[in-house]
């Protein structure tokens, strides 16, 4: 049913529709409203789940892991420093190939302390072995949350649903929440084949020596690659069930043959979609909205870049001392393509800086004036810095 809902409340309701057995979480801005929403649904008897309010994000991830290993559908959510504190467990969850879903309400990582949105937190754990899906709006956040459980359970991989903190989590907008029977049909009860069960005792998380570790890593890597078609198929199935797709692996918006493209992740793609509607038709620009960052849809990206001469990669995070994170990956993936586009890397919107509609023409101008392969923080105000730091 279509309702005007705050993003966090919608995500909480979407989680409830998935009937998790155990939810464990620790509050952190801007994730709090999600967990508060779930807590209220449990208190009101709408949700039948064990809600474990833990003493840290480290334990939130651990409790969710224990619950999932014991065969329950498990969920947690966090942001920023919480994701950092969880990071050891996040690697562990993925390495153990235990399915679960985590909402990352994306937020900057301190210091300096910032409670506002960027995507440094999820980017910092990109190598943990989780599937990472980025949402452009709250409808995608709802649909992706539900899809995430199915993807996780089909692949035995954990899924992180990345939702821009405040920009999406605290925005009220019309959202279509699917009916319970639609979700029940899409997401049947789950049985974890390796669950901890005294009737069939197994040892989970054993010591693996050099004779086996490489093979474990190889199979984990391949499991992620094999998740690519699963992510696409689940989105198609969701579209069949609800009439809505959530962006597959990536989505190309705008003229297919545009020589200029902008690749971005998360809510800024929503803003740019609207801005491009008014963009002069004599300067065709298309948007590549990257939804799956892990596994990285290399083939889909190469296909989306056919005919592209200038590719702008905009990200809300950076790797200090290198520059762009996504930009460098994109460059590497396109390196094997004949007539590969010139890649221009930009970061913007760090620590909650607003990304106005003017950012798009600014990026186009900067890319056309700049050198390929360069990385720039597009919205830095150098005048605020002492001369030696500029």
């Amino acid at each position: 049913m279509r309702q005007a809902l705050e993003g966090s409340q919608a995500i909480a309701r979407a989680v409830a529709l998935c009937r998790p057995g155990v939810v464990a979480a620790y509050p952190i801005t801007p994730q709090t409203h999600i967990v508060e929403g779930i807590s209220k649904l449990v208190a009101d008897g709408v949700m039948d789940c064990e809600l474990v309010s833990v003493e840290s994000e480290f334990s939130a991830a651990s409790v969710a892991l224990g619950a999932a290993a014991a065969g329950s559908r498990a969920y947690t959510a966090s942001s920023s420093q919480g994701i950092m504190l969880m990071s050891e467990v996040l690697y562990n969850i993925a390495g153990l190939r235990v399915p679960m879903v985590l909402t990352c309400a994306n937020r900057a990582v301190g210091a300096p302390l910032s409670i506002w949105n960027d995507q440094q937190d999820s980017m910092a754990v990109r190598d943990a072995g989780w599937i990472q899906l980025y949402c452009a709006d709250n409808q995608e956040a709802v649909d992706t949350t539900i899809q995430a459980f199915r993807i996780a359970e089909a692949t035995e991989l954990p899924v992180m649903v990345c939702v821009d903190g405040f920009v999406l989590t605290h925005t009220m907008e019309p959202i279509d929440l699917p009916d319970q029977d639609v979700v029940d049909a899409f997401l049947p009860p789950y049985h974890f084949a390796r669950m901890l069960d005294p009737a069939r005792p197994i040892s989970l998380g054993t010591l693996v020596d050099p004779a086996w570790f490489t093979e474990a890593r190889h199979s984990h890597h391949h499991a992620l690659l094999k998740a690519l078609p699963v992510i696409e198929q689940v989105d198609r199935d969701w579209q069949a069930a609800t009439g809505r797709a959530a962006g597959g692996l990536l989505e190309v918006i705008g003229p297919a043959d545009a020589p200029t493209a902008i690749l971005c992740l998360g809510s800024v793609a929503s803003t740019f979609t609207e801005v491009l509607e008014d963009h002069p038709p004599d300067d065709p620009v298309k948007l590549i909205k990257l939804r799956a960052f892990r596994p990285f849809p290399a083939e889909a990206l190469r296909a989306a870049c056919i005919g592209v001469k200038t590719l702008i990669v905009l990200e809300r995070a950076l790797s200090p001392g290198l520059g762009g994170i996504v930009a460098v990956e994109v460059q590497a993936i396109l390196a094997t393509v004949p007539d590969a586009p010139a890649v221009h890397g930009f970061a913007a919107g760090l620590g909650g800086r607003d990304m106005p509609v003017e950012l798009l023409p600014d990026l186009l101008a900067a890319a056309r004036a700049g050198r390929p392969g360069e990385f720039t923080i597009a919205d830095v105000q150098l005048s605020k810095l002492p001369e030696e730091d500029r």
Binding site: V22, E50, S59, S62, G66, V89, L196, P198, L207, W212
Partner: protein, 332 residues
């Protein structure tokens, strides 16, 4: 699995065992490992209907070298500091699935319990999960090669609290974990020792029968880390009790409800002198050695007085006969 050993045969074998052994023989623990002994005793008392979580440490490493495992019960290791939190999740899942009958036991060493896993443990106790947490206390980080923990006794030498001209081993006191645990007002917390297997079993069975969080601290000598004769593990563990250095007590809701009495407390030197980790306390002519021995004796005396350990009756003999059995080794 060899073809002749089908599931029925395995089930049959399992059924015909005289005692259920959750932790099977054939693992890779050191000779005389107190933790291996303690873990076997604990698992025997719990039975097969259990899910075990295990912190990183010796027990995890020596029981599960992939692709082998010594565990006959569902067992999970995640990280060093989250055994209690993993167990919390398992318990929540079992509860949600209506599998409440299955017990959940969290295992950890003193490093994973007193130190790095302490916060997760405190959270587990505060949230009153139905879990028995068992800490195998060998008083240092043995898995990484004998580094001091907050459970290491005062004056003990480890690789990070060595003795030397300026130091006499660990400068700080052993953390009184049991009091901190009891301050969570949980229904049952107790200390036990591998030297008193019948007492240990009784405590495990009592704890596992309680609905809610329970805690057992099991003193488990480490021949490697304590530098003692591997054949004297049980004897040394018993001396720790008989000197008053490791009191065996039971607490309910933060009140002491039972102690194992000591009729004739032994001098702490009887315990210390058998272990290389206290060797520097016996250096001839070093006034610091005498001072530290007296310090440790004072600590033991204080513990005996505090818990009223001086019993009127004879010292309890363990009914399993561990008191009288001594096998192999130099002292046989």
């Amino acid at each position: 699995m060899p073809p002749e050993l089908d599931q029925t045969a395995l089930d049959d074998l399992r059924r015909r065992q005289p005692r259920f052994r959750g932790l099977e023989a054939g693992h890779r623990a050191c000779q005389g490992c107190g933790e291996a002994l303690a873990a076997r005793l604990v698992m025997e008392s719990i039975g097969p209907d259990v899910v075990v979580t295990n912190a990183t440490g010796c027990l995890e490493v020596f029981t599960t070298p992939w692709p082998q495992s010594a565990w006959r019960v569902p067992w999970m290791h995640s990280l060093f500091e989250n055994s209690a939190a993993i167990a919390s999740g398992v318990e929540a899942a079992l509860k949600h699935q209506g599998r409440d009958g299955t017990k959940v036991v969290a295992l950890g060493g003193d490093g994973g319990t007193f130190d790095i896993g302490f916060q997760a443990l405190s959270g587990m106790l505060e949230r009153t999960h139905d879990i028995l947490y068992v800490c195998f206390d060998n008083e240092a980080y043995m898995n990484t090669g004998i580094q001091r923990s907050s459970s290491t006794p005062h004056a003990a030498a480890t690789t990070t609290s060595p003795s030397g001209k300026a130091r006499m081993g660990k400068r700080h006191l052993k953390k009184d974990l049991l009091s901190i645990i009891a301050a969570h007002h949980i229904p049952y917390a107790a200390s036990a020792s591998v030297a008193y297997p019948a007492d240990l079993r009784r405590k495990v069975r009592h704890a596992i029968g309680i609905k809610g969080p329970t805690f057992l601290l099991v003193h488990s000598p480490c021949p490697l880390g304590w530098a003692h004769d591997a054949a004297r593990t049980v004897e040394i563990a018993r001396l720790a009790v008989q000197t008053g250095l490791f009191p065996l007590i039971e607490m309910e809701r933060s009140e002491v409800v039972g102690v194992m009495p000591i009729r004739d407390p032994r001098p702490v030197t009887d315990y210390l002198s058998l272990q290389g980790r206290f060797r520097h306390l016996f250096t001839e002519g070093d006034p610091r050695a005498l001072e530290e021995r007296e310090h440790l004796q004072a600590l033991a005396d204080h513990t005996i007085a505090k818990f009223g350990l001086r019993g009127a009756g004879p010292d309890p003999l363990d009914s399993d006969g561990a008191d009288t059995v001594r096998r192999g080794g130099n002292s046989a």
